[in-house]
């Protein structure tokens, strides 16, 4: 560990929060339908969308209508992407000559991109044609991110309304977030990244004859345009098999810094946008502070963990000051560890180093960050929405202790809200632990493992954690491109995405009809240090109690095995 490393880590975390602030204000203006400086260009485009679709963007929908529209749109996206992947062989722009994708892989990949997970059962350059990458995957990178944002926009309106009715218009929220926020940001970032060396070409492959005579096939794709939105949309699915570790997807320390910041910036922006739209800036800053605290502590821990001596290096008597297995020289340990923290704390899931080869506690920490519910800062909108659910549970717990009806942001929190909040947070353990338990004893499932023992269990646990939390990163030793894994992971992603989404919209619908209460001295203040402490406690206890037993059998026991191996070498 050195001062440069700490500096790089602090810069990566800090830049994302700082840039998220102004973007969040802008995002809130977009959600609220206020004037923006892009109106002259985009208003006409927006009108075309509404006109063709036959929707009235001004009509506020009830929560059921809003949720129905959300599900219908995502179903249409799933069907389209599934069809593109299956028909890839006969579609144009397939210079690689790839055949159609198998049914279970097409199901898995379509679900994965629609749910904003971007789990990679596919092999990127070895499976996906240029057409599939562009017309299929890139589109879902945008609209799945915007779908997440709509959930937060609706929830925020639930808190502002005084005996209101609707939670907003799904089509307007979706279209405006995509056109005004994601598209311009991705366009600028894509051009910058292409200038910095990320490939952007419609050609297929370049054949090279190496200096020593061997041949090499260099795969080209329109990668910069996809990488830009995969990061900004907090999706994470790579153009290439190894994602952000691939030099064509992340060629230099500078592109690495820019894309690592891009992973988090829109998540933070959605926090601040929620605060502005819900007229609760101070309270939401408290939520952001709690997230920053957990993320900062995790980043420091991860850096320390990855500079512990790795047993294979110690045994071979080579320099063991950095666990470089699975890491790129241009990034080294600091840039690899901070990326792994931000990608798992957000629901991004892109990687610039192989998580499977991290030290056991490093892999365990990555899993734990996902298991907290993807709220640090999570996906665009989906992160702040679940963080608000955590805040509701916190005021509920506090309310139980002092015997008062809890309130949050001027709304009474009653049985119905807490029931839906519990549904939103219990999906994760159910999907993760349920599927993991079955897979751990199912021979067909076990055939996919690369590593034995506790690390094998970690591969299973990581896969379902990543799927249900809609993260998408992997302990990639697992050969997940098989019917059992593709199907169950696909189900995990669906449960983990749409059950919390509908539950949050139900909370919004329940809140929107309630009267807005004036602040009173009896209510628990939710913008101070005491509440931040309570919230962190609820988040950690909820995550810890549910998952610690499973983690103890995987990464934690492996950690002690590593200590024993290093001591014995």
């Amino acid at each position: 560990m050195n001062i440069q490393g700490w500096g790089e880590i602090a810069l990566t975390l800090g830049l994302a929060v700082l840039l998220g602030w102004p973007i969040g204000i802008y995002m809130s203006r977009v959600w609220n339908g206020e004037r923006t400086w892009l109106d002259p260009v985009l208003k006409p485009v927006e009108a075309v969308f509404y006109g063709a679709a036959g929707v009235d963007p001004k009509r506020s929908q009830g929560w059921l209508g809003y949720a129905g529209a959300l599900l219908a749109f995502n179903l249409a996206g799933f069907v389209l992407l599934y069809a593109i992947l299956r028909l890839q062989g006969v579609l144009p722009l397939n210079p690689q000559g790839f055949a159609g994708v198998s049914p279970h892989l097409a199901f898995n990949t379509a679900v994965s991109f629609v749910t904003n997970t971007n789990w990679q059962s596919y092999g990127g350059e070895a499976t996906m044609s240029t057409f599939s990458q562009m017309v299929g995957l890139t589109v879902q990178n945008f609209v799945s991110a915007a779908t997440g944002a709509t959930i937060a926009a609706a929830l925020a309106r639930g808190f502002v309304a005084h005996r209101g009715e609707g939670v907003g218009n799904f089509w307007a929220d979706l279209t405006r977030t995509t056109l005004y926020v994601l598209l311009p940001a991705a366009f600028v970032l894509a051009v910058v990244l292409a200038g910095l060396g990320i490939v952007q070409s419609l050609a297929a492959n370049v054949q090279a004859t190496g200096v020593e005579g061997g041949t090499q096939t260099l795969p080209l794709f329109p990668a910069a345009s996809q990488v830009a939105i995969k990061q900004l949309g907090i999706n994470g699915g790579g153009v290439f098999n190894v994602n952000g570790a691939h030099p064509f997807e992340n060629p230099s320390p500078l592109t690495n810094l820019i894309t690592a910041v891009a992973i988090n910036v829109m998540g933070w922006a959605a926090f601040f946008a929620f605060g502005r739209t819900a007229l609760a800036g101070r309270d939401i800053k408290a939520l952001a502070t709690a997230a920053v605290i957990i993320l900062t502590v995790s980043s420091a821990a991860m850096y320390a963990i990855e500079t512990q001596p790795a047993p294979a290096l110690v045994a071979a008597h080579v320099d063991a000051s950095a666990n470089m297995e699975g890491k790129e020289v241009r990034f080294g340990v600091p840039a690899s560890t901070i990326w792994s923290v931000v990608t798992t704390g957000a629901s991004n899931g892109s990687v610039n180093a192989m998580h499977a080869s991290f030290m056991p506690l490093g892999g365990g920490l990555q899993m734990f960050l996902m298991q907290l519910g993807e709220i640090l800062p999570g996906g665009i909108g989906s992160g702040i929405a679940i963080m608000v659910v955590m805040a509701l549970l916190s005021v509920f717990v506090a309310g139980l202790m002092v015997g008062r009806t809890p309130e949050y942001l001027g709304k009474k929190i009653e049985a119905r809200e807490i029931q839906f909040a519990m549904i939103a947070v219990l999906v994760l353990p159910l999907a993760i632990l349920g599927f993991s338990a079955v897979s751990a004893v199912f021979p067909t499932a076990l055939a996919g493992l690369l590593n034995d023992g506790p690390h094998g269990l970690s591969e299973i646990l990581y896969a379902y954690t990543s799927a249900a939390a809609n993260n998408g990163s992997a302990f990639a030793g697992l050969t997940a491109n098989a019917p059992w894994w593709n199907t169950t992971l696909g189900l995990g992603m669906l449960f983990g995405r749409f059950i919390p989404a509908v539950a949050v919209l139900a909370i919004a619908g329940s809140l929107v009809v309630k009267p807005k209460l004036a602040p009173s001295a009896g209510a628990l203040p939710t913008d101070n240090g005491l509440f931040i402490g309570l919230l962190i406690g609820v988040i950690l206890i909820l995550g810890g109690l549910q998952f610690l037993p499973a983690l103890a059998l995987g990464p934690i026991v492996e950690h002690f095995q590593v200590l024993a191996a290093v001591a014995g070498a």
């Binding site: 490393g5 075309v48 969308f49 679709a53 529209a69 219908a72 749109f73 249409a76 562009m134 589109v139 945008f142 995509t178 366009f187 894509a190 292409a194 490939v199 952007q200 070409s201 370049v206 190496g210 200096v211 090499q216 260099l218 795969p219 329109p222 910069a224 345009s225 996809q226 830009a228 290439f240 190894v242 570790a245 030099p247 064509f248 060629p251 230099s252 320390p253 790795a310 047993p311 294979a312 045994a315 071979a316 080579v318 320099d319 063991a320 666990n323 297995e325 790129e328 020289v329 080294g332 840039a335 690899s336 192989m354 499977a356 080869s357 030290m359 892999g363 990639a476 030793g477 590593v562």
Partner: protein
Amino acid sequence: MVNSFRPAIVMMALFTLLLGLAYPLAVTGIAQAAFPGQANGSLVRDAGGRVVGSALIGQPFVGATYLHPRPSAAGDGYDAAASSGSNMGPLNPDLAARVAENAQAIRAEDGAGVIPADAVTTSGSGLDPDVSPAYARLQAARIARARGVSVQQVQTIIDSQTEGAFLGFIGQPRVNVLLTNRALDARFGAEG
């Protein structure tokens, strides 16, 4: 939900046209016009214009006159069509065996200096174009011997190809293997 089907399908179609075609094609057009070198893979060509590789993608070197890259888990090694890390956990016995074997081979070729970690570990992509300056330094004497030149001459080439961290703290100092070997060939001749 049912009465949302029509807007869902229409919106999906419009988004596909805008985000799946217009957006990537516009970025491709700009990138191809403004940065054709980067957009097409930062290719490296020989005097005759033949593509010998990409400055961003590692390739195997085994000759004693060349700087050697890190071990690779991509296909049979540096297979750019099949990027991959080893994905082995820290206690995987195959990892320990491979590291020990690589360390032994390096000691046999490059002497008894301290071996840096990157020399015996596979990268995340399997296509790492770089090695650490420490690993390059370890190889300088062997390259000099094989080419019949002084260690200082080789080290000078390596130093000229060493790139520092961005702004001194973003990323790590590194030596590009392909570019260094091209520089060695340019300076001392391809046959060493």
